[in-house]
């Protein structure tokens, strides 16, 4: 599978490393050239330095032929716009977008984006952990 990952931070680089290790063809975009250091030393995929709102950068990184695209930069609004470009303009069959704000994640998921909200997951897990303990009374 051909995979494009936008944003090479903790999330993006970890997904890139895992998918490349599983034998997938992975291409990564980040506007910070230093972000390459987050990938393994023997990184087998591509690394394109640039801003992913720039259509030429997206095309250079292979958006037109990618089977899936992960959008995980550190900006919610940037991610939302890039994800819509990947989906609507380039018709990428699978676009997964990281959105930290639960409200925007819910709204854009209702518009048809596949969103992942780590904040909602953290809220859920933390609340469950607290509720699962009997407290001092138990």
């Amino acid at each position: 599978m051909k995979l494009l990952i936008v944003g090479c931070g903790r999330v993006g680089s970890a997904i890139a490393s895992r998918m490349a290790a599983d034998g997938h063809d992975v291409s990564v975009i980040d506007d910070d050239p230093e972000a390459l250091a987050r990938l393994p030393e023997d990184w087998p995929g591509r690394f394109v330095q640039g801003h992913a709102l720039d259509l030429e950068v997206l095309i250079d990184a292979g958006i037109e032929t990618a089977d899936a695209c992960v959008v995980a930069t550190d900006g919610d609004n940037t991610n939302i716009v890039i994800a819509q470009v990947a989906q609507k303009r380039f018709h990428c069959p699978c676009v997964v977008t990281r959105i930290l704000d639960p409200a925007r994640a819910a709204f854009y998921s209702s518009l048809g984006l596949q969103t992942v909200c780590a904040t909602s997951a953290a809220i859920e897990t933390t609340t469950q952990a607290i509720c699962a303990t009997p407290g001092r009374a138990g």
Binding site: N77, I80, F107
Partner: protein
């Protein structure tokens, strides 16, 4: 009208003060603490602190009853999100967005933000309009109607020079509007003859430019 403005820089704050003078109700949102302090001393309750891309901030600012949302922050992604959310989630009919980097224009178009303002694009169009031998220049975009109005000069080598409008093989998706000769404009009718030096205005559907150019403009040597 109730107008919500996202971004309290020079553009946003000057818009707010003009709109207030015109008698409109305005809320001006900014999420920079220092800038907000200045805005609050100038606009009092009209200024509100908050990130206009946060849904609860928009809701507390009364986005649902806004007649118009204006997104003029310095960040194009933020401007896109503000307008898209206002329209798609809160049903605000009209929005105007500022395009800071003209390369982002296609992204605004893609999500359906019809009214955009870009300083770079405006200045470029003005410069082209001022050039004596300009080619086809876009004067006006009628987004809602999916039409545009363009202007071009008839050059000596143009295949249309010396022919009347009726005899031109114009693309179906275009019509000539007017012909300006020696500073005087006349409505273009079938009998109007085109001469070198004429400035012609045309209305067309986007995409018909190249076909129109073939009929009216000289092939570059």
């Amino acid at each position: 009208m109730y107008i919500l403005i996202a971004g309290g820089g020079k553009v946003g704050s000057n818009l707010a003060s003009t709109l207030l003078k015109m008698g409109h109700e305005v809320t001006l949102l900014d999420n920079d603490r220092n800038r907000y302090a200045v805005l609050e001393s100038r606009f009092e309750h009209v200024a509100r602190y908050g990130d206009a891309t946060e849904l609860f901030v928009l809701e507390r600012a009364g986005v649902e009853r806004a007649d118009l949302v204006v997104a003029v922050t310095g960040d194009d992604e933020d401007n896109i999100i503000v307008c898209q959310v206002a329209k798609e989630k809160y049903g605000v009919e009209k929005s105007i967005a500022r395009v800071n980097d003209p390369r982002n224009q296609p992204h605004f178009d893609m999500v359906g933000i019809n009214l955009t303002v870009s300083a770079t694009a405006t200045i470029l169009a003005l410069i082209e309009h001022e050039l004596p031998e300009h080619q086809l220049v876009k004067l006006l975009d009628l987004h809602r109607e999916n039409l545009e109005i363009v202007e071009f000069a008839i050059e000596a080598g143009s295949p249309a020079a010396g022919r009347s409008v009726r005899d031109l093989n114009l693309p179906n998706k275009s019509r000539l509007i007017s012909v300006t000769r020696d500073g005087r404009a006349e409505i273009a009718i079938g009998d109007t003859e085109l001469r070198p030096g004429d400035l012609v205005m045309a209305i067309l559907e986007p995409g018909a430019e190249d076909e129109l150019k073939r009929v009216l403009m000289a092939v570059p040597a």
